[in-house]
């Protein structure tokens, strides 16, 4: 009962409790630093990410070029910061698109019994494809652009969100306050948003964090395979793709963006795990 009842004042508690756990605190702090680094990129570096310098091409890390330069003499550190902007914002947009699609499908499947079977089968069908394969197919069909990558990955990850929403909706739908709302003629759309959606935000938050991490990986994968965002725009994936050719002679071109992906994804996973531990068992226990 206590958990259902902790509506007000939940957010400050949650933040405090996330920071009280070493793993989730590490995740939260790291992801905050990564986001800040991306936002404050112009302040953290003197170079322009597209600035060529043939003289300095493939130079190893040095005080002048912190993480070295790539084959065209562009500063790897600078490009990494700017690439973070693209990678993070693409991934964030994917979470938004996946959530919009997933919440809609999940609410329909979970709340309206007749729609459950067809919508659930659609979700199952989408889940049956390997993530990257489906994304490649969609991008190939839609054309490679940042918008289409977001759309494609959004479609790929929507089923995960939809499953969580459906499962939670099935539980909430049967709770007395939903029945009470029906008995007092509250319109279905109000029940859906006010009474159902508001009460399943915790699992959505957890799932959103995991999708964020997955989307960073998937976007990097698509860029690496050359079906993603245009190679002119630095993302961690395109940087690795370029660096692959110089892997033995100039490993830093590939290593540091790779490290950025690992650190960011790991931080998000830790944060997601922390959120799930704090939010989900209480849901499971109380509903």
């Amino acid at each position: 009962m206590a958990a259902i009842a902790t509506g007000p004042g939940k957010t400050p508690n949650l933040l405090k409790r996330l920071l009280a756990r070493p793993t989730s605190a590490a995740g939260l702090i790291t992801i905050t630093l990564v986001v800040l680094a991306a936002i404050l990129a112009p302040l953290l570096t003197a170079y322009n990410p597209a600035q060529l310098s043939i003289v300095n091409r493939l130079s190893p890390p040095s005080p002048e070029f912190l993480l070295g330069t790539d084959d065209l003499g562009r500063d790897v550190f600078t490009r990494m910061l700017y690439a973070g902007r693209t990678s993070l914002s693409v991934a964030f947009a994917v979470v938004i698109v996946a959530s919009l699609l997933g919440i809609t499908l999940g609410l329909i499947a979970g709340f309206f019994r007749k729609a459950d079977a067809p919508v659930s089968r659609l979700i199952d069908a989408l889940m049956a494809f390997p993530d990257i394969l489906l994304a490649i197919a969609l991008v190939a069909a839609l054309g490679a652009s940042a918008f289409n990558v977001v759309l494609a990955l959004g479609i790929v990850y929507a089923p995960r969100m939809a499953r969580v929403v459906r499962a939670s909706t099935l539980v909430i739908r049967e709770l007395p306050y939903v029945e009470a709302a029906r008995a007092l003629a509250v319109p279905t759309r109000v029940i859906l948003f006010r009474h159902v959606l508001r009460n399943i935000t915790s699992p959505l938050l957890v799932q959103g964090t995991f999708i964020f991490a997955q989307a960073i990986l998937a976007e990097a994968g698509l860029s690496f395979l050359g079906v993603g965002i245009s190679p002119d725009i630095p993302t961690w994936g395109t940087m690795i793709s370029v660096g692959r050719q110089f892997m033995n002679s100039a490993g830093w071109i590939l290593f540091y963006p790779g490290l950025a992906i690992v650190v960011t994804v790991l931080a998000l996973q830790l944060l997601g795990d922390g959120l799930r531990d704090l939010l989900d068992p209480r849901l499971a226990k109380d509903i």
Partner: protein, 337 residues
């Protein structure tokens, strides 16, 4: 469709069945009763007797595979128009729920959304049905909280449900249900989850609100003690059927059906059960349990548990017959009881 002028609800031969591919559960099988304006009718029975399904049929909240097979549920709304709720569609029910018929439930703990303040939730109901602006709705909400006698109502408006006790929450539920001044209130075991002292307060409150607002109450319960407190008339249900129907005073004076007799004997009574010497009399319990409604005995459904049963009881289901002044009984031997 005719209805006596002072009757607000008339359930006639209602059958609500749950049909699946393999079995048909006749949860409600031929229930008939009338509820008079401004009165309280208690529907009493054990779990599985069909009392809750009856109430859900009336307000149109049956979930599949439950459906009304046959029968009529005649309801007189505020404009004196009589409608058959058994044939009403979802649109029709939306116009009736809340405004004409409201319902309160057993679980005050989970009947409120934990994420909104109680003022918010009552206000939602009021705004929904009355087209008031926020300020007016809040004023009316406060009036409702005062009407259900929540102390310091002004400061409790912005409380969340978890900040209130069970009794207070049930008061909030009542405020929500009565916010639009319905003419019929269906109360499905509203006091079951509450402490005895709180039960008495809630019953008292319902009685007072009934006098002020003049609504009729259909009170679903398994507790005969509660019935004695609030009902004018009593319908006793067993295995989906009415087994006895009587005015409350007559029913407690003399039961015309062995099941009612048994139920009454099962009600704990401190004065009766605790003898002066300090020994406790064992509380009576009806032997056996309610038969599954998918597999009822061929004769009277209660016969296998009945100490008065004779051979004829096992042969054919008895019908609901006149058992003296204003009362009905579904028992072959009612005149001997």
């Amino acid at each position: 469709m005719t209805l006596d002028a002072d009757t607000i609800l008339s359930v006639r031969n209602l059958r609500t069945w749950f049909r699946t591919k393999y079995v048909t559960a006749k949860a409600v099988d031929g229930v008939t009763f009338d509820l008079k304006r401004g009165q309280t009718l208690a529907v009493v029975g054990e779990s599985g007797s069909g009392k809750s399904v009856t109430s859900l049929s009336i307000i149109g909240l049956l979930s599949r595979p439950g459906a009304i097979e046959s029968g009529e549920i005649l309801f007189r709304d505020r404009s004196e128009k009589v409608q058959d709720l058994a044939k009403l569609g979802p649109r029709g029910f939306r116009a009736i729920r809340g405004r004409e018929i409201a319902m309160i439930f057993q679980e005050p703990m989970t009947s409120l959304n934990p994420l909104y303040t109680v003022g918010d939730q009552i206000g939602e109901m009021i705004a929904l049905h009355n087209k008031l602006d926020r300020h007016e709705a809040r004023k009316r909400t406060l009036e409702m909280l005062q009407a259900v006698e929540i102390p310091d109502a002004k400061n409790r408006l912005d409380d969340y449900p978890h900040q209130m006790s069970g009794g207070m929450r049930q008061r909030v539920m009542i405020a929500m249900a009565l916010a639009c001044n319905p003419s019929l209130l269906i109360a499905d075991e509203p006091t079951t989850a509450l402490d005895v002292t709180i039960q008495a307060q809630i019953l008292d409150l319902l009685r007072r609100l009934q006098e002020q607002m003049g609504m009729s109450i259909l009170f679903i319960t398994h507790n005969l003690g509660v019935v004695a407190e609030i009902a004018h008339e009593v319908v006793v249900m067993y295995a989906g059927q009415v087994v006895e129907h009587a005015p409350v005073i007559d029913l407690f004076a003399r039961q015309k059906h062995p099941y009612t007799k048994g139920l009454l004997a099962c009600t704990p009574n401190a004065a009766r059960d605790l003898e002066p010497g300090g020994t406790r009399k064992a509380l009576y319990s009806i032997p056996g349990s309610v038969p599954p409604i998918t597999n009822l005995p061929p004769g009277c459904a209660f016969a296998p548990r009945c100490e008065y049963a004779i051979d004829a009881c096992h042969a054919m289901p008895p019908s609901l017959t006149d058992a003296g002044a204003d009362r009905l009984s579904r028992c072959l031997r009612s005149s001997e009881l």
